[in-house]
Amino acid sequence: MTVISQPLSNPSNKPIERSKIDYRENSLWRLTLRRILRQRSAVIGLSILAFLILVAIFAPLIAPYDPEEVLIGKEDITKRQAPCIHIFGCPPDKPQHIMGIDGNVRDEFSRVIFGTRVSLFIGLTTIGFAIIIGSSLGAIAGYAGGWIDNVIMRIMDVVLAFPSLLLAIAIVSVLGAGLQNALLAIAIVNIPRYARVVRASVLCVKELDYVSASRSLGASPANILFVRILPNSLPPLIVRATLGIAEAILEAAALSFLGLGAQPPTPEWGSMLGGERNQVFTAPHLVFYPGIAIMITVLAFNLFGDGLRDAIDPRLAQQGTEG
């Protein structure tokens, strides 16, 4: 009977009977998934993310009020009223508002809940856009080489020469304030990072034998690029993107905080925080909760991204730098 050792799924190194091995176990994706699940930070990040996605999907069910509904005349409350939670001693005859009331007499909790939708949407769309444009540019630069490579990458260098938030501010000022323009600005600012990642991996593999083989078999450049080369850049791209979403959410919130991104009454955490920033001494809850919400969301993507990086990049895992 043949025995083999299976280092990843069987760390104790005990021999396993070959007949018992389920070959599906060894697929690249399953191995990676298992490695990811062994990363503490990835699991924590993924759990928070799953929770946030559920909150975003079921927002109308969780939120007690419409996020844009002004409650003047409907309930006996005043603007910027402190949180009222019944189990913490708030009189039961008063309406419950667990995160208080905002400056326009709306339920803060409902706004924070609906804000999850906006932030996740921002993170995914901006980075999605940046990846599509960035990786195309990076792939073209890496594959074509020569002056095309030089021109594309020097342009990327120029974009990278500006601190990203400042460039985003400048772009929004050209396009005009608003969530859509803020998204576009953040996406543009992020393009060079993905271009670099993809270009690097294209350069790594484009001269390898299997690529030359495809070429000599008469495959078209597009086929070689998209089928043979680009899949190799997926792992670093996924890691970069997860961490990138975290940054994009922070940047978008900062733009909205400055009044350049999402406009009222959209329940966006950054603009909620920015709108009430001068009331921090009188109504701290209106600053506290949106900030915590931003932090938890960004933290989730950061933890997941870190875990992914450690799981996907075996060089790091071997050196024992996983968290």
Binding site: R154, A161, P163, S173, L258, L273, R277, V287, G291, M295
Partner: protein, 359 residues
């Protein structure tokens, strides 16, 4: 070494040219008629035509770009529309604030971040490590303006009346003024000259100015006003430094020469500080350098929160007020600062790591 330096500087030139083109394009693309923006809505067609002729706005775009580049290269940033004063002068007044803020933030981030990273790496998986890494992860995920507001709430409101109270905004308590050193020493300066700009710059570094002129009240007050913004601005670089130091230390601690050093019977402190740390610092230096460049972006938010008249806030106000000359000049200065930082980081490799031969 000289060759490398030269090549590295030459490579930065196309990037700087690109930055010039980008700032030019962005400023030209800001919506609105430049004549109306500068001379006001009531400007007549004749006045506007003369203005466009004077400023070269009616020339082909590439000639405009040429004029603009020529002005920038000669350091002529023009006059601010809103303040009707030379942009260079405004820059000299605002830049020192941001530099003070940025330098202290980076120093704080380094002196706390590196030791935390080392301790985490040595005591890997201990409770200290877990706590440090949780704090570091939370630190990079926190919006800096939120932290700033929360710090202001705690230290300026909740701790009011205690010795821990800190002012929530401004550079100095009202009533106190920082007297420029050239006035203290009675040096005469001619307005508008290059020296006067340099004097202005130095005297706006309040801490430095206070030390050289012995204005101890002002010094104490400035420092008190700087604490909260510096803490807020330093959280992200501090967290990044701690994480980077930890992973870099862990990598180095697994190397053969560290084992050899231990096998020789060296004290653990010698192994850690002399053998491991020095090698682990290389990537950390890179990160700190890059973070220094990012400080400007953080400064926009920190200065807004704490009501500080620095470059970041000025730029933001100029953008919203369509003050093109300030937007162009400030973006340019910040981007150049950023490129220079990258250059310094690259070159500093050679000095930190003798293994790297930069030929």
């Amino acid at each position: 070494m000289t060759n490398y330096l030269l090549r590295r500087i030459l490579l930065a030139i196309p990037v700087l040219l690109g930055i010039l083109i980008v700032t030019f394009t962005l400023a030209r693309m800001i919506p609105g008629d430049p004549c109306k923006a500068i001379l006001g809505e009531k400007a007549t067609k004749v006045v506007c035509d003369r203005f466009m002729e004077e400023k070269g706005f009616n020339k082909p775009i590439y000639i405009q770009l040429g004029i603009y580049m020529n002005e920038m290269i000669h350091g002529d940033f023009g006059d601010s529309i809103r303040y009707s004063r030379p942009v260079t002068l405004i820059l000299m007044e605002r830049l020192p604030m941001t530099i003070e803020l940025g330098i202290f933030a980076i120093i704080l981030a380094t002196i706390i971040g590196i030791p935390l990273g080392i301790i985490s790496a040595i005591k890997r998986n201990s409770i200290i490590d877990v706590i440090t890494m949780v704090i570091a992860n939370v630190g990079v995920s926190m919006p800096v303006y939120w932290l700033g507001l929360m710090l202001a709430y705690i230290f300026a409101l909740q701790l009011k009346g205690t010795p821990l109270w800190l002012p929530p905004s401004g550079r100095l308590t009202s009533g106190l003024t920082s007297i420029p050193f050239y006035q203290v020493y009675g040096w005469a300066i001619s307005k508008g000259s290059a020296t006067s700009y340099i004097y202005e710059f130095i005297s706006n570094l309040y801490i430095f100015n206070a030390i050289i002129t012995g204005q101890w009240m002002v010094l104490g007050d400035t420092i008190k006003h700087l604490i909260l913004p510096v803490v807020a601005l330093s959280t992200i670089p501090m967290s990044i430094t701690a994480r980077m130091t930890r992973s870099s230390m862990l990598e180095v601690l697994g190397q053969d020469y560290v084992r050899t050093a231990r096998a020789k019977g060296l004290f653990e402190s010698v192994v850690i500080l002399k053998h491991a740390l020095r090698n682990a610092l290389l990537p950390v230096v890179t990160i700190i350098g890059l973070e220094l460049g990012n400080i400007f972006a953080g400064a926009v938010l920190t200065e807004t929160i704490f009501g500080l008249a620095g470059v970041g806030r000025m730029l933001f106000e100029a953008i919203t007020a369509r003050d093109y000359p300030i937007v162009q000049a400030f973006t340019l200065v910040i981007a150049i600062g950023y490129v220079m930082m990258n250059l310094i980081v690259d070159v500093s490799y050679a000095f930190i790591d003798p293994r790297i031969k930069l030929e």
